[in-house]
Amino acid sequence: MRHAFLVRIGPVGFRIGSDWRAPIADLETLYRDYPKPQDGVPDFTVRLFARRPWRRIVRPSVEIGGDYMLPEAAPLPLRQGLLAAEMAMNLQMALGARRYLLLHASAVERDGRALLMTGISGAGKSTLATLLAAKGWRFMGDEFALLDPLTGLIHAFPRLVSLKNAAIAAAEAAWPDARMGPLMPATPKGDIRHMVPDARAIAAMDTPAVPALLVFPRYGFDAETRPVPPAEAFVRMTQASTNYVALGEAGFRALTGLIADVPSVAIDYPDGARAIEQVEALWAAL
């Protein structure tokens, strides 16, 4: 491909190729402090390409491809090329990853122990992870937490934080010095802006953590906390994992192990500040 970029995020190496310079330039800037894939061999290849040669120039339209593809993935306009790259990397992980059980969760770490937050899109897992990281937690990732079936440890996957709509301002306020990608208004998921995780998150990304607490946050309700029974937590997490079925027995063992080892709690929260208090209180009571 005309333009290419290699990067390692946590334990996962990527090669991203593009028909256009712009998305690669964004990736080079935003991932400049990240290492290259181990041995120069990425785990996954991602391709951003024009379906027809003229679509490179005329109304450029970015198709998403790679080792693993979804036939119905819609193309994005070139100004959203960075989003296309991030989506394509996530897609490779979701469809191809086998080494780790992928939990669709954000993760932060303190004292070697990980707090996992999972929920539907809009529940606030990205925002909460960003806000907690501003309070001294180590940011491990806002999209996937990687559960190692052999050790039960959580590995970090601190790719760019994908901030959406109101979360953009909240994160900018919490992280005034953070480096930000271009603001992409009116994407399929609303306004999106990517934030580079802080230096500590990148420096420590090869250090796994012991899972200690699983939280199911829900934004927009009066503050409330309730324990989630293991059976419910297990079923919710099977739905929150993209490769649970593909891992077979290893996935089942990893997930039942996680649920047995850590308490699961649902929290409803009206705003970020209140959620942080609730999480800190739960953590202190562990």
Binding site: R15, D39, G40, T45, G66, D67, G248, A250
Partner: protein
């Protein structure tokens, strides 16, 4: 070499990977994924000293293939149970047959749908039994449905509503519209029993089916993987009486071509004449796992339709499909 011949070489001669750099490995792995041969490659390279990143990637591929093998065998068992009351032989085809029979062609192989062959006279009873056991029709379009039933070598594909796995029920190995009409009864007659009532084709039957599938049907998509199957079958069983049996099914040309191409792609025999065009098509894959050589691909796509139906029928079919699109 900027095409999938580097993948073919790695499969036949695993030692050829010695000295690959990061870019070389990256290209090889991308091609292997695109050709659905990464599991096979992982099995072939198992035990060799490899860079750490490659070891980890290939270990994942082996685990995925093992999971796929188990799922395929389970699906075959589900079909066996569903069809136990139907009094007819049930013959596993392609990937599931290779793993069920423990053949080298099955090692690391990616397996998608479950393909079975049953006698044409039993097809109605087989369909009824599968529908009763939870399979459902996939094609909602009445034209497609009628087309399959009237002209194809298989039922319209069925998918299991709970396990989300597809089954293709064949009654012969080429579409009824094709100019070649293999003797399905003879293939069934020659089939070999596995344990618990399922069957596979005879070794020569498997080879003839693979050659028919590759060269008399379709546009050679997945050609490298299918050719690898043939390579493995030939290595394991040899080619005794193959020519005579192929002649009986009208597939002598396809079978000889498959043997020549195995020698060209996985050996060091050069391809001559038309075979070179097939070779170009089968290895049309670049370092990024992208399909290349669009004109060759298009030519084989057109050819696949030409082989499948007589011209008047093809025009009628394309017209109907175009109007519906």
């Amino acid at each position: 070499m900027n095409d999938a011949r580097i993948l073919a070489r790695a499969l036949t001669d695993p030692a050829s990977i010695v000295g690959l750099d990061g870019d070389g490995w990256t290209a090889l792995l991308a091609m292997a994924r695109a050709e659905q041969l990464i599991g096979t490659l992982a099995m072939r390279l198992d035990g060799l000293p490899l860079p750490g990143a490659v070891t980890a990637i290939l270990a994942d591929a082996r685990a995925a293939a093992e999971h796929g093998r188990r799922a395929a065998l389970w699906e075959a068992e589900m079909a066996r149970r569903a069809l136990s009351a139907v009094d007819c032989p049930v013959i596993l085809l392609k990937g599931t047959a290779f793993v069920a029979a423990g053949l080298s062609a099955g090692q690391g192989r990616a397996i998608g749908d479950l393909d079975i062959l049953v006698p044409r006279a039993s097809i109605g009873a087989v369909e009824t039994a599968l529908l009763a056991a939870g399979w459902e029709w996939v094609k909602p379009d009445p034209y497609d449905d009628v087309y399959y039933r009237r002209w194809m070598h298989e039922l319209p594909p069925l998918i299991h509503r709970e396990r989300d796995r597809m089954i293709d029920v064949h009654h012969t190995i080429l579409p009824l519209t094709a100019r070649i009409t293999p003797d399905a009864a003879a293939l069934i007659e020659g089939s070999v029993a596995l344990e618990k009532g399922l069957r596979t084709l005879s070794p020569n039957g498997m080879l003839i089916h693979a050659a028919a599938h590759l060269f008399a049907d379709g546009d050679l998509a997945g050609g490298l993987r299918n050719l690898w199957d043939i390579h493995c079958l030939v290595n394991e069983f040899g080619t005794q009486d193959l020519d005579a049996e192929a002649r009986r099914h009208g597939l002598q040309r396809e079978v000889s071509r498959s043997l020549r191409l195995v020698a060209a792609v996985f050996g060091d025999r050069p391809a001559h004449g038309l075979d070179r065009l097939y070779l170009r098509r089968i290895t049309a894959r670049d370092d990024w796992g992208r399909p290349i050589r669009p004109i060759t691909r298009l030519a084989f796509y057109v050819r696949s339709h030409w082989l499948r139906m007589p011209p008047a029928m093809l025009i009628r079919h394309l017209w109907t499909k175009w109007r519906k699109a």
